[in-house]
């Protein structure tokens, strides 16, 4: 019993810190989401679930949720495939491997705001390199609905594929050499080796990478903020952008908190699915 008490006393500072920096803000945001709170109008009162029932009818929220979901699915899928290819390439032994590994990390090391600004110039309809490479030259990638979101996805894929590659590389290196040797002795061709050995043994790592990336992508803000600020016609507006505009630009803290909590719940759901997938993959 004393041992137990000692354990609790050792853990309590960590629990206290977690409670302060994680639980308190979340609970405060949920509490705020039950209020109408518009700074300019000095309007601060409890309104129960009114913000939430409006959220369910708010077409702009559903559109933002749709854009966010699409962004997460497409971006993470590309990041996993490209990341796996990079990881396999980086794992092969050869000269200059260390330099290559460092070089691959560069996009990830550049601050997102900087790289997004860089991409905005590449996409520029007048002077952009990408615009000049496209046939016709008269395309406005960031100004055309449907295309703009994909332009943002490209930026995210460019930036975070190295991160995925690095995690998968670690996973690849944890697969023991014996199994590969056994496969060689049995005469398995490379594709079969990849499908029957590498991929199944890498699955837990892939699940981790996918979860991390999905959690990050669902809160995507900086890249889109710089590239389009949610435009054109709100077609690149994600949940974070909508929450930010509502809260900080319009000063509507009640509904802004509702949107933030909704974003948090989406992230929570993704984390739940991710953890479950990881457990199954590890079995």
């Amino acid at each position: 019993m004393t041992e137990r008490r000692a354990a609790i006393s050792f853990v309590s500072p960590a629990l206290l810190a977690l409670g302060l920096v994680a639980a308190y803000p979340i609970l405060a945001a949920i509490w705020l989401s039950l209020h109408r709170d518009i700074l300019v109008f000095r309007d601060h009162r409890f309104i129960g679930g009114a913000n939430w029932s409006f959220l369910l009818r708010d077409a702009r929220f559903w559109a933002a949720l749709g854009h966010t979901t699409y962004f997460v699915l497409v971006a993470v899928a590309f990041e996993l495939v490209l990341g796996l290819i990079f990881a396999l390439l980086l794992e092969t032994k050869g000269r200059g491997r260390g330099v290559l590994r460092a070089a691959v990390l560069v996009p990830w090391a550049v601050p997102t705001v900087v790289s997004a600004k860089l991409w905005a110039w590449l996409y520029d309809p007048d002077h952009g390199l990408i615009t000049h490479l496209l046939p016709g030259h008269d395309v406005n990638l960031l100004g055309t609905p449907l295309i703009a979101l994909h332009a943002a996805i490209v930026v995210d894929v460019w930036k975070t594929t190295p991160f995925v590659a690095l995690i998968l590389l670690a996973g690849l290196q944890s697969i023991p050499d014996d199994v590969y040797r056994a496969a060689r002795i049995d005469g398995a061709p490379p594709w079969t080796t990849f499908r029957r050995i590498t991929l199944p043994l890498l699955l837990p790592t892939i699940a981790v990478a996918a979860t991390f990336r999905a959690l990050d992508a669902v809160r995507v803000f900086d890249a889109i903020f710089v590239l389009t600020d949610g435009g054109p016609a709100n077609t690149t507006e994600t949940l974070s952008i909508y929450a930010y505009k509502t809260m900080l630009r319009l000063g509507d803290f009640g509904y802004g908190a509702t949107l933030s909590v909704a974003t948090f719940m989406v992230a929570l759901a993704i984390a739940g699915v991710g953890i479950a997938a990881q457990r199954r993959a590890a079995r």
Binding site: L39, F41, T144, P145, D229, P232
Partner: protein, 397 residues
């Protein structure tokens, strides 16, 4: 209440780190944005105030240049009880800040400013018959024309023809989803004879005509496709490099164009309208306001600073050294300010956007819907009925 305390605490903590003068009755804190170019003439204006008011210490703080960033900063700082005394505010914030109780009424009579200032500038600082700020410098939407390609068009039809026939052709306007687009749309609505009132009725015949016109410009290639993501600077760069015949922009571009390849081949005129009378440019610019937290004893000093910086002499300095259009009528008739003189006749037709505490929230709705029309994914009547529904919900709620 809880949040307000947190904000206050945060505001105090931030300010404590950059200032030790909080609560000091003898200092006056002035927040303003950096001016482009040589700051000496502006520093001289501030020094003049220091010389004539030795009883108080003037402290300046630099604000972010981006309007959105400054709005956010003021939202948290003024609400949080920061120690700012005199602040610079965008024309469209006056009604909002007055309603929120962040800025104080100034001891200035509405009649006085109506007499001395450009009409739109005066109207933009008067809320409920009281004066809440004084215009520092103003902006107004104008039309730039390449005179070697076309004569400045006076009607929308002439504009279409000039943009189609010219070589280079094309009409540039600000079509990105942001506040600048709202200015462009309001100007077009006024050009079709529409009004902008504080009642925020948007779904009108004139508004439908205006949006159809702008959508057609993009759809028919009269304006390059780039305008759907263009702000002021994108337009200016394209125009300056000689790739368009016409551009809607603010007066700041005039000075820039004088040092470019197309210098001497550009005219700055009033915007066109449907019928051909000079169009109404959207009023922009910055005002000086006094924080509502300034203690009684300090108010005369804050007012004196605002009066000094918005005086005829100061506005002349700003016009000459920094190319800022003055709010005072008298300055438009002076021979020593040639660039200002060009705007005579244009500024009197300027109109403010709706002076309403709801405006920032309404504009957020307008930006998304107008962008949808310009980029061709929604019809004008569809977008306008969506706008009206959202505004009615906001204002009625």
């Amino acid at each position: 209440m809880e949040r307000r305390e947190v904000l206050r605490w945060l505001g105090a903590a931030t300010l404590a780190s950059c200032s030790r003068t909080r609560g000091d009755e003898r200092s006056l804190v002035f927040l303003h944005q950096p001016l482009w170019g040589d700051v000496a003439p502006f520093a001289a204006l501030l020094d003049e105030f220091r010389r004539t008011h030795p009883d108080i210490t003037l402290i300046t703080r630099t604000a972010p240049s981006a309007s959105d960033a400054l709005h956010q900063y003021l939202l948290t700082t003024l609400e949080g009880g920061g120690d700012l005394d005199v602040v610079v505010v965008d024309t469209i914030w006056v009604a909002e800040f007055a309603r929120a109780g962040w800025i104080a009424e100034l001891p200035v009579s509405p009649d006085e400013i109506r007499r001395e200032l450009v009409t739109a500038a005066a109207e933009s600082v008067i809320v409920d018959g009281r004066v809440w700020a004084l215009p520092w410098w103003i902006d107004v939407g104008v039309l730039y024309t390449r005179t070697d390609v076309a004569d400045p068009p006076r009607t929308f039809d002439e504009l279409m023809i000039a943009a189609r026939r010219g070589s280079p052709g094309g009409y540039l306007f600000q079509g990105r989803q942001y506040e600048g687009l709202v200015c462009n749309v309001y100007e077009t609505i006024w050009g079709f004879g529409g009004a902008s009132d504080a009642h925020l009725v948007l779904n009108t015949r004139e508004a439908r005509a205006a949006l159809s016109f702008l959508a057609a410009l993009v759809r028919e290639g009269v304006s390059p496709r780039a305008v759907t993501s263009a702000g002021e600077e994108e337009c200016r760069r394209t125009f300056q490099s000689g790739r368009a015949a016409l551009m809607r922009n603010w007066p700041y571009a005039w000075a820039e164009l004088q040092h470019s390849a197309i210098a001497g081949k550009v005219a700055m005129t009033a915007l066109p309208s449907y019928g051909g009378s000079p169009g109404n440019g959207c009023l922009g610019g910055w005002h000086l306001a006094m924080s509502a937290r300034v203690p009684k004893a300090k108010q005369p000093f804050a007012t004196a600073l605002i009066r000094h910086l918005t005086s005829e002499a100061s506005q002349a300095v700003l016009a000459r050294a920094f190319g800022r259009a003055p709010a005072r009528r008298a300055l438009y008739r002076r021979d020593d300010l040639p660039a200002t003189r060009l705007l005579e006749g244009i500024v009197e037709h300027a109109r403010p956007r709706p002076v309403s505490p709801w405006y920032p929230r309404v504009s957020d709705v307008l930006q998304g819907e107008f962008s949808a029309v310009v980029s061709g994914i929604r019809t004008p009547s569809d977008a306008l009925s969506r706008v009206q529904k959202q505004i009615d919900r906001l204002v009625g709620a």
